[in-house]
Symmetry: C2
Subunit: 343 residues, 2 copies
C-alpha cells in the first residue's frame, strides 16, 4: 500500500515536471548539448599588504588581487534568448542555483535548457571570489587591535530557518511549504561565512556586475535576497548592458525617494514566495518593494510585482529556486523573461 502511494507520488511529480516545461521550448530530460562553457573573473584590483602570511613557507607581504568576481557560464547551442546572470544571497555562493539539496536539476541548467546563456557568480569576497585576509593576519600577529578584524558572520541554521521561511520558528514548518526539508542537511552545507559587512559601499559586487553586463551586451540580472539591491545599484552606476532586472525576494528595493531615471523603460520583476506576510522580517520588505514598483512605473519603468501564490504556485519558501516545485517556478520565470524582455 505504501509502495503504491509512493508510485502515485512519483507519477504526480513527473506529471508536474512535464507540465512545468510546456511553457517553453527546452527539453528538460536527456543529455544536454552546450555550445560553450567556462569561467572567468570580472573586475578586481591589486593591493599590497605586509600581512599576508605568518608562515615561513610563504612571504609575509606582497601583492594580492581582491574584489574580483568569479563567473561560471554555459551557453546553449543557437541561443536566441538574452543571457541571464544569477546572483546569490546572504551566506551562500553560486551553489544556490546548482543542483538542489535533494539532487534535482538547478536553475543554472534549467535556463541553459530553455535557451538562455547562463552566468552564475560568487559575490565578491565569497566562494571562489577571494576575500582579503590581511586584517586577520595582522591581528593574529599582534600588530592591530581585535576591533579591526573583519565583520564576518555565519547564519546559524536555527535562526536561518525563519529567515528562509521554512516555518514560523525552528524546526516547525509552514503548512504546505515546498522546500525539501528532508534534505536540509545538504542545504546547510551550502552556507559559508559572509564578508558583506567587511566590504566598502556600494558592495564591489555592483561594479563587477556592471562590467559583466557590459561584456554580455544585454543581460537580465537575477538577484536573490541580500543581493536584491545590487542590480538596481548596477543600473544607477551604468545602465549599459542591462535589459531586465529580476529581484527574487529582495532584501531591499530602492527607496521611492531615489532617482528612478535608470529604470525608465526597463522590465523589472519583483518575485515573492509564500508566507511573506507571516514574517516580521519579510513583510515590511514586501510592502516597500510594492511602493517601489508603483514609483518606478510612474517614472516610466515596466515594473511588476508577483506573488507566486497568485500564479498558481503556493508553498514557495525563500529558497524557491530549490523548492520541490523549483522547475515549475523557473519555467514560469523563463516564460516571463520571454514575454517581457527584448534584447
Amino acid at each position: 500500500m505504501i509502495q503504491w502511494f509512493k508510485y502515485l507520488a512519483i507519477l504526480a511529480v513527473a506529471t508536474l515536471s512535464g507540465c512545468a516545461s510546456t511553457g517553453g521550448e527546452g527539453n528538460l530530460n536527456g543529455p544536454l548539448t552546450i555550445a560553450r562553457q567556462g569561467s572567468f573573473f570580472v573586475n578586481g584590483r591589486d593591493v599590497k599588504s605586509d600581512y599576508l602570511s605568518l608562515l615561513p613557507a610563504y612571504a609575509s607581504g606582497g601583492t594580492i588581487a581582491i574584489e574580483q568576481m568569479y563567473v561560471h557560464y554555459q551557453e546553449p547551442v543557437a541561443a536566441k534568448r538574452p543571457p541571464v546572470v544569477f546572483i546569490h544571497g546572504c551566506c551562500l555562493t553560486g551553489k544556490t542555483w546548482e543542483s538542489t539539496p535533494d539532487g534535482r536539476m538547478g536553475w543554472d541548467e534549467l535556463f541553459v535548457r530553455r535557451g538562455f546563456p547562463t552566468y552564475v557568480v560568487d559575490q565578491v569576497s565569497r566562494g571562489r571570489s577571494a576575500a582579503n585576509p590581511s586584517s586577520i593576519v595582522q591581528a593574529k600577529a599582534g600588530k592591530a587591535a581585535p576591533e579591526t578584524l573583519p565583520q564576518i558572520f555565519s547564519a546559524a541554521r536555527e535562526g536561518a530557518w525563519t529567515i528562509f521561511r521554512f516555518g514560523p520558528e525552528y524546526p516547525k514548518l509552514f503548512p504546505g511549504m515546498q522546500f525539501p526539508v528532508e534534505a536540509q542537511v545538504e542545504f546547510w552545507k551550502q552556507m559559508v561565512p559572509d564578508w558583506l559587512n567587511a566590504l566598502p559601499t556600494p558592495n564591489p559586487t555592483v561594479p563587477a556586475l556592471s562590467q559583466l553586463a557590459q561584456k554580455l551586451k544585454g543581460t537580465v540580472l537575477i538577484s536573490h535576497s541580500q543581493s536584491g539591491i545590487y542590480p538596481f545599484q548596477t543600473a544607477i552606476l551604468d545602465r549599459r548592458g542591462i535589459v531586465g532586472i529580476v529581484a527574487i525576494e529582495p532584501g531591499a528595493c530602492p527607496s521611492t525617494a531615489s532617482d528612478m531615471t535608470p529604470y525608465v523603460g526597463l522590465p523589472i520583476l519583483v518575485l515573492w514566495g509564500d508566507y511573506v506576510e507571516l514574517s516580521p522580517r519579510w513583510a515590511p520588505r514586501l510592502k516597500s518593494c510594492g511602493e517601489f514598483v508603483v514609483a518606478a512605473n510612474r517614472a516610466g519603468a515596466k515594473a511588476q510585482m508577483v506573488m507566486l501564490n497568485d500564479v498558481g504556485m503556493p508553498g514557495a519558501s525563500h529558497m524557491l529556486m530549490q523548492d520541490k516545485h523549483s522547475l515549475q517556478i523557473g519555467n514560469w520565470l523563463a516564460d516571463w523573461i520571454d514575454r517581457h524582455v527584448t534584447r
Copy 2:
C-alpha cells in the same frame, strides 16, 4: 608582416591542438554533449558556536556545518572511462581546472570530452566549501586572544612567482616557459586565502575524498601541489574506490619509511614540469618522490615518475594545467590513464 607572423602563430597553435587530440577519441572542438552535471557536498559535520555573528540581524550563536567538501561534476554520454577527481593546490580553488587565464578550455572540460566523468572539488575550508568563522568572531568580540585566530595566509604574487616556477625570481621568466604570463592578471585573481594550517591533521579533505571515491566506486584521484599527499593519505585511510593516483607536482610524497601496503597493485603517476632542478623549493621534493616511487614499486605498486621534458613537452610550469600546451599535456595524461588504469 606582423599580421602574417600572427597568422603563422595561430596556425601553429591550431596544429598543436589538433596533434594533441590524436591520442584519444575526444572531440575537442564544437558543441559538447553531457549526460548529467551538477554539484553536491561530501562529508561535513555540525558544530555549535556562540560566536557566529556580532550583527543584530543574525543570531549570535547556533549550529553550522563545517568540513564538507564541494564537488562539481559533469558526465559524458556513454562514459567508458573511470571517473577522475581533480584536487587543486595551495591558495587556489577548483577554478584551477576550469578555463585558463587566457581563456582556453580547462582540463575539467577536456576530460569530459575524452570520455571521463569529471569531478572538481574545492578543498575543505576553501571556495564553496565553508570555513568556520567562529574564532574570528570571538576574537573581534574581545572574548578570545588574538593568538587563537586561525592561521590563514595568502600567497603574494611576488613570492608565488618562483613557487609556480614562472621564473627564477619575480618577474623574470625561465627561457621557453609556457605559462601564459601575458594573462597573469587573470591568474592572480584565482588565488584565495588558504585555511590549511587552521585545520586538523589529516586535513578533512582526506576523509571527504575517501567518501567521494567510495561513492564513485572506482576513481582516479588527481592532485596538484599542496594536495599531493591527500590521495595517498586517502588510500591509507581506506583503499575502497581508488583505482589510480596521479600526483601532479606534489608538495610531498609519502615517506619511504611509511606503510606501502595501501599502494599494492595501484597505478600511481607522479608528474613533473620543467625547471624543477633549478628550484630550491621543488628539487628536494622531486628527489624524495623519486625515492617513494622506488619504494612503492618494491612493495608491489605500479608507480611511475614522469618528467614532461622526457615525453616531448618541455617548458611546463608548476601550473601546467593552464600552460599554453595544457591540452597537449592533458591529452597525454588521459592516454596514460587509458593505458594504466582498469576500473
